[in-house]
């Protein structure tokens, strides 16, 4: 009887052994060779992400129909208000155009390069990380020019960077991920530092030249020194400055971009600061 039980249990141990060896092999391959995007990941991502996209588009279509056709009560008053607002913004835009032209003239006189964000593409967020680390899936991949380390932003600020790309989809590591860090400079004093994700909703200040003049409400911009994010993009706002812990004060930073409500994002495919060190910076220096 014991022999029968032993024989019947053998396939279980064989299956367990095979599965463990396979999974451990995958892990060790990545540990040794640092393979970012293995064929297994690309294949599964390209297979499953279209389903995610299909479900996302269906949900979006449902909301679209509701918002466009079923929830239009009281739209006339809002329309009037918005029309008025558009007129005001149009005047403001005209003024801003004048300011930009003036700024460009001044820059060219000072031989400064323009802070162009470079070549970009708009992508839609179609999923969030099923595991616990902070990543999202977007519907653009290597075919559209998105590569690992491409910066992802919204008009409100920095979102994160691409860590894996398949042909048509990419995985973006958000800046709040505990393994993410961004080179920053304080908008008011131009002091340079590094902010790091906490794995929660906020960022921590990891390093700064001098933390004496930090105060609540100060804004951190990307410094461009990490060669991933272009210089001058909003990264976060200081929400609290606590007592000194070690060398630095405890500084909590709220990300400028609303990372909990990401719908569309901008992928920066190329920008002047991530060009090689020998390449000249873009922009005209002619007076």
């Amino acid at each position: 009887m014991s022999r029968i039980v032993a024989v019947s249990k053998r396939p279980t141990w064989v299956a367990l052994g095979i599965a463990l060896v396979f999974q451990t092999g995958l892990i060790s391959i990545q540990a040794r060779h640092r393979i970012d995007t293995s064929f297994v990941r690309v294949w599964i991502l390209d297979s499953l992400a279209p389903l995610e996209k299909l479900v996302d588009r269906s949900t979006y279509a449902g909301f679209y129909v509701w918002e466009r056709y079923l929830a239009l009560i009281g739209i006339h008053d809002e329309n009037e208000r918005l029309r008025h607002q558009v007129e005001e913004l149009r005047m403001q835009l005209h003024q801003n155009r004048e300011d930009i032209l003036e700024l460009q003239r001044l820059r060219s006189m000072l031989s400064l390069s323009s802070s162009d964000t470079g070549k970009t593409i708009v992508a839609r967020v179609i999923g969030r990380d099923p595991a616990r680390s902070q990543t999202v899936t977007i519907d653009k991949g290597t075919v559209q020019g998105v590569r690992p380390d491409s910066a992802i932003i919204t008009p409100a600020g920095v979102v994160g960077r691409v860590i894996h790309s398949s042909n048509f989809f990419s995985i973006v590591q958000l800046i709040v991920d505990s393994q993410s860090a961004v080179g920053v400079l304080l908008q008011s004093t131009r002091r340079q530092g590094v902010v790091r994700g906490t794995g929660g909703l906020s960022l921590d200040l990891d390093y700064i030249d001098d933390d004496n003049d930090l105060k609540q409400g100060d804004t951190f911009l990307s410094s461009g020194l990490d060669r991933i994010y272009p210089k001058g993009l909003p990264v976060g706002v200081i929400t609290s400055v606590g007592p000194r812990r070690g060398l630095l004060k405890t500084v909590q930073i709220r990300p400028s971009a609303d990372l909990g409500r990401l719908e569309e994002v901008i992928c920066i495919l190329e920008h002047p600061q991530n060009a090689g060190p020998d390449e000249p910076a873009q922009g005209s220096a002619n007076p």
Binding site: T12, A19, F22, I27, E52, T59, A131, Q173, G199
Partner: protein
């Protein structure tokens, strides 16, 4: 009387042919078709679990604390009564989960493989139809899963960083959420299974 008397049975390429009077009649392997159908349903269910987890985590932030692949690995481990199938299910779910996230490929795969095996082993030894047992098992499996995945990820990639307090809180929340959701899903699935059988 044997109705197949005088009929030759010819087996070719996995299909059985009855040859009577020189005219072959195909006999469809019904058992194989039904097995394939069952496997297809299982594969579709596993893909759906991972995709639903991804979509819901994106739409509802609180869903990030849940781990549907883990809940399903434990459930199938408990109920299938087949450790090999439980190992295969856990392994596949974990691998898909790794691929859709930025995690180290194989970290969740290894963890869910072990969980599938342990759940299948526990299913034959404990009274896993009791809510308390299920609640405790889901809680412990979640804690084990996050610890193992964190260790494996840290071995390959950079360490977790100086945010262990946040991580511990998230693990505890995740374990509680998984235990409660798992309990509800198990009960619902049990009722549904009983209704269809």
């Amino acid at each position: 009387m044997n109705p197949l008397k005088g009929v030759r049975i010819h087996d070719r390429a996995g299909m059985r042919f009855l040859i009577e009077g020189g005219y072959p009649m195909t006999v469809y392997p019904m058992a194989r078709v039904s097995t394939l159908g069952m496997l297809g349903k299982f594969a579709a269910a596993l893909v759906a679990v991972v995709v639903i987890q991804g979509i819901f985590s994106f739409k509802f932030k609180v869903f990030g604390f849940f781990d549907l692949p883990l809940i399903f690995s434990v459930y199938y481990g408990f109920t299938l009564g087949n450790p090999v199938a439980s190992i295969a299910i856990g392994s596949s779910l974990g691998l898909m989960q790794d691929s859709l996230s930025g995690a180290v490929l194989g970290a969740n795969g290894l963890s869910k493989t072990i969980i599938g095996f342990l759940a299948a082993s526990a299913g034959s030894k404990f009274a896993i139809d009791q809510p308390v047992t299920r609640l405790l098992a889901l809680f412990l499996f979640t804690i084990g899963d996050v610890i193992l995945v964190t260790i494996l990820s840290a071995m390959v990639g950079p360490p977790l960083g100086a945010t262990y307090s946040v991580a511990l809180t998230n693990w505890a929340l995740s374990a509680m959420f998984n235990a409660v959701l798992g309990l509800v899903l198990f009960a619902y699935h049990d009722r549904w299974s009983n209704a269809t059988t």
